[in-house]
């Protein structure tokens, strides 16, 4: 280790890279400059499609820049890729573990490839296994590991030979909060003990605050960069916890997001987090919001506020109206049960994906299914939609089992799947028309609804673009639009916000809130813990079992033991998962 670090570890100058997709030319990166001088974690933050992965691949020498240059320890990725590759560790987004090899065999392979001498291996393996907590699983096939364990094994394989620079491409995506926390602990330890430099990309805003330095990337451009604290400090004094006694959070949010000068208003825990423009005083805000009982308490700034503020400046927002939504047949008095699940179970061979699950959902409720990947959310969801027969137990949706229901019953539900099921070769309009027809909308009604979707979801400019060529955010909008064309009474949303940038997520939730206000019942699965606060009630699942059921507050209270301040949903989740013996419910 040389003392004088005159040379930057990584330096990117005016890097531009474009891709061809069909007939269109997409600029993934436009004149990006980026420098890593010190060890520690540098974050590359941005929504999906911002160009993070492209940058990582360029830095690893897997792609060539169209123009500009990336140098790693003075070596250019253009012609010294092989030399660079023996000095860096790179963990792609989907780390290529060989699923039919065991944990140990995967490690052996990468040790061989990285040229680790056999003599040094056992010590290195022990250290890595201990660090990642995989000691007990060394002889398990990698394909049989959970998502979080796979990521940890991927990281271990990357670390098999000590390196000075690590490139980690979204290491925490799709990983449950517990594993996410553990991954970060590993990274922090590496930085501390081995003094390595890490370039880590992520779409999670809260992870930015754990970085030493961050670059915010959007649409292939660096939007801003700096130490997260510096970026946050700009937002100091602009965040408030807003609440209004006697008013539902959702209703309050409806007022606040429309108030001029408000940059952001999201449901967070028991209150609303409001971020304002710099000049807006609390008094003026109360005035503008038109809610007399509004209470505002200052909140410390956080990175996401800065991010949203940046993005509000460049991004367009869409706002769908739900006016004219067919009013649901309101039953008199008492909550009407729309979805009923009783002792539901599902086995695949000898694997219990879901066991003994019971809950009910009322009309007009936003009901969440929370859990890590593999917790059984999607299986439950597919059973509810009638796509998978349960092994045991009963369920009914709107009084029927959708598996055997008539076509008319299915016309009352809307469904957005995790993969945004769209016909890729069809244009936006063709997709909308197709689904309108499938839902029996005819002539004028069809035209009217398709127009509504094109306008309300800001899709008109893209009306003739193939669905395959849309960005993920627009795909999500289109998928949602197709599911809402026939104005369903019940909406099923499977991980609708995964991989979508924070701005699109806000707009998405605004729409869902508005729909719920109109009496639409929404069942949503998510692994974003903070989204739990949007739900009226929710179920937390782990290992196919129900861990907790109730309103967000009641679930947090279970964990808080009634004394200290309520934890965040993520903290509550970790506490719940880590104490399976605890008597719950």
């Amino acid at each position: 280790m040389t003392s004088a670090k005159a040379q930057p570890i990584l330096e990117a100058r005016e890097v531009t890279r474009t891709f061809r997709s069909g007939h269109r030319c997409i600029t993934a990166l436009a004149a990006v400059n980026l420098v890593i001088l010190h060890e520690g974690v540098a974050g590359l933050i941005g929504p999906d499609g911002a160009g993070k992965t492209t940058f990582m691949r360029l830095a690893a020498g897997l792609l060539r820049p169209d123009s500009g240059e990336i140098r790693i320890q003075g070596l250019s990725t253009r012609d010294q890729a092989l030399a660079i590759q023996s000095r860096i560790g790179y963990m792609p987004q989907r780390f290529g573990l060989y699923t039919d090899l065991t944990v140990r065999e995967n490690l052996d392979l990468y040790a061989d490839l990285q040229g680790v001498a056999p003599a040094n291996r056992s010590a290195r393996y022990d250290a890595l296994m201990q660090m990642t907590g995989l000691e007990a699983f060394q002889h398990r096939l990698a394909g049989k590991l959970s998502g979080g364990m796979k990521q940890k094994l991927g990281l271990a394989c990357t670390l098999i030979q000590p390196k000075e620079l690590l490139l980690l491409d979204e290491p925490t995506v799709g990983v449950d909060p517990v594993s996410r926390r553990e991954l970060w602990q590993i990274i922090d330890r590496l930085v501390e003990e081995d003094r390595v430099a890490v370039l880590l990309s992520t779409a999670y805003m809260d992870e930015a605050e754990r970085c030493r330095y961050v670059y915010v990337l959007n649409n292939g451009c660096v939007l801003s960069h700096g130490e997260p604290q510096t970026l946050c400090s700009r937002m100091q004094g602009r965040g408030y916890a807003a609440s209004a006694p006697g008013m539902h959070r959702r209703a309050l949010q409806g007022h606040l997001v429309r108030a001029p000068g408000v940059l952001d208003a999201v449901i967070e825990r028991e209150w609303l987090r409001v971020v304002t423009e710099p000049a807006l005083t609390p008094e003026r805000l109360k005035e503008r919001a038109g809610v007399p009982s509004l209470e505002l308490n200052p909140l410390p700034a956080r990175f996401e506020d800065a991010f949203i503020a940046e993005f509000r400046a460049v991004g367009a927002r869409w706002r769908t109206t739900v006016s004219g939504w067919a009013p649901p047949q309101q039953a008199d008095g008492g909550p009407e049960t729309v979805i009923q699940v009783n002792a539901l179970g599902r086995r695949f061979g000898d694997f219990h994906a879901v066991r003994d699950l019971s809950f009910e959902v009322h009309r007009g409720e936003i009901f969440g299914l929370l859990g890590a990947n593999g917790a059984g959310k999607s299986t439950t969801f597919r059973m509810l939609c009638g796509l998978l027969p349960p092994s045991s137990g009963e369920l009914s949706v709107a009084g029927v089992d959708l598996r055997r229901a008539s076509a008319a019953a299915r016309a009352r539900i809307g469904y957005v799947s995790q993969s945004f099921a769209l016909y890729g070769q069809l244009t936006v309009t063709q997709n909308l028309r197709f689904f309108a027809n499938v839902y029996n909308l005819r002539r004028d009604r069809r035209r009217e609804r398709v127009e509504w979707a094109l306008d309300g979801f800001e899709l008109r400019a893209l009306a003739n673009v193939d669905a395959d060529d849309l960005s993920l955010g627009f795909k999500q909008r289109l998928a949602l639009a197709t599911a809402l064309l026939h104005q369903p009474e019940i909406l099923f949303l499977d991980e609708p916000t995964s991989g979508v940038d924070p701005l699109a997520r806000r707009e998405f939730w605004e729409l869902i809130n508005a729909l719920a206000e109109c009496g639409v019942t929404v069942l949503v699965t998510t692994h974003f813990m903070e989204e739990a606060d949007y739900c009226d009630r929710l179920v937390i699942m782990a290992g196919g079992r129900l861990l907790a059921l109730g309103t967000p507050e009641s679930i947090k209270q279970q964990v808080a033991d009634g004394h200290s301040a309520l934890p965040s949903m993520e903290e509550a989740f970790i506490a719940l998962v880590e104490s399976p013996q605890r008597e719950l419910r």
């Binding site: 597919r382 009638g386 998978l388 598996r403 016309a411 945004f420 016909y423 070769q425 197709f434 839902y439």
Partner: protein
């Protein structure tokens, strides 16, 4: 219902025809394959390379050789100086056969004694060998007939054959192979268009999306089957045109019978394709399944080798193969002017196979879920 089916179909066509590459895949390979098959897949021999080792310079020997030279199939003659040389050339695969005329050939003939001609054929491809041998025999027979007529003293054989081949007087195997290609290629197209479409939708998640809409399984089934059916008919027409206009294969039967057969065959094949693809969870499984069905189906269809030559058990197995019936229909209509009643026994099995498979596919839609 029909409105939904229509839109399902429309979507399928839009997806199919949108991409220039997939459009090309639909049109080009059938044309190219028909032409390559048409030229390559023939069992007739045309350019037979043969060696002659003649130890006799007299007129009768020359006359016999002239008959070889005059035949359009025997084109590459090599004069040999010894039989050994002939053997070596056959070994090397340079000659298909060697004709050996011994020193006493003419003398024997002129003395009214039978003279023998020795022929050695390369039997590595035994089929070619047998055919080549037949050609040689034909030449010798004609020589004999002529010789007997011109040279009194030779007793004509007591009986001779007057052979007429119905439907294909010159026994051109291309007339047999090319109608078969229509069946072969239609099977591929129908399997790929109809078969893989469900697996593709499953993979992209749109199949689940469809299942939660008011669309009924029967409608999905029709929406999937009809595009393949229409594309198949169009492509079938194209290949029929190539067969008739380019390769000059006679089409003596009625077009209505041909199209009735084509429609039924497409119905059956699409049924099989949909059943396979309803069973498959991924595109790859679908492709593998289609391949595993198609290879034996072509082998056991009578396309290249007659079903009658197969062991009895295998012959029973071919009764499950839609292509087998279609081959009969195609050749019947093209060459034999087979009538509808005559082909009835080929029509109804296709109907049964199609119905059984479509029913299975419809059932699998809702029961094969992951």
């Amino acid at each position: 219902m029909w409105q939904r089916v229509f839109h399902l179909m429309l979507k399928e066509f839009l997806a199919l025809l949108k991409d220039p590459a997939s459009r090309a895949v639909l049109v080009l390979p059938p044309i190219v394959q028909t032409i390559i098959f048409g030229y390559a897949a023939t069992l007739d021999l045309s350019h037979i390379r043969y060696g002659v080792y003649v130890e006799d310079r007299a007129a009768p020997a020359r006359e016999l050789l002239a008959r070889f030279a005059g035949s359009p199939t025997f084109t590459g003659r090599v004069r040999l100086d010894s039989l050994e040389q002939g053997r070596a050339l056959i070994d090397r695969g340079e000659l298909l056969l060697v004709v050996h005329i011994g020193p006493r050939f003419s003398a024997q003939l002129l003395r009214h004694r039978p003279a023998s001609v020795q022929v050695i054929v390369d039997g590595r491809n035994s089929n070619t060998a047998v055919i080549a041998q037949g050609y040689v025999r034909e030449i010798v027979n004609r020589f004999n007939a002529r010789w007997i007529a011109e040279h009194p003293g030779w007793q004509p054989p007591l009986a001779h054959l007057v052979i007429r081949a119905w439907f294909n007087p010159n026994l051109e195997s291309r007339w047999f192979i090319i109608p078969g290609i229509i069946g072969l290629l239609l099977q591929v197209v129908a399997m790929l268009v109809a078969g893989l479409s469900i697996a593709r939708e499953r993979e992209s998640g749109t199949f689940d999306q469809l299942l939660v809409t008011p669309v009924r399984p029967l409608e999905i089934l029709l929406g999937k089957a009809l595009p393949g059916f229409l594309v198949g008919l169009a492509e079938g027409t194209l290949i029929v045109l190539i067969a008739v206009l380019w390769f000059q294969v006679p089409l003596v039967g009625q077009l209505t019978v041909l199209y009735a057969g084509m429609a039924l065959f497409l119905f059956a094949t699409i049924g099989v394709g949909l059943a396979i693809s309803a069973l498959a969870l991924t595109m790859q499984q679908g492709l593998l399944g289609a391949f595993l069905f198609m290879v034996p189906s072509v082998l056991l269809s009578g396309f290249a080798t007659p079903i009658a030559n197969m062991p009895v058990i295998v012959q029973y197995l071919t009764l499950l193969n839609p292509l087998r019936y279609f081959m009969e229909i195609l050749r019947g209509v093209f060459l034999e002017d087979a009538s509808l009643p005559l082909l009835m026994s080929q029509f109804w099995p296709l109907l049964v196979i199609g119905l059984a498979n479509l029913a299975m596919a419809g059932w699998l839609f809702r029961h094969r879920l992951h």
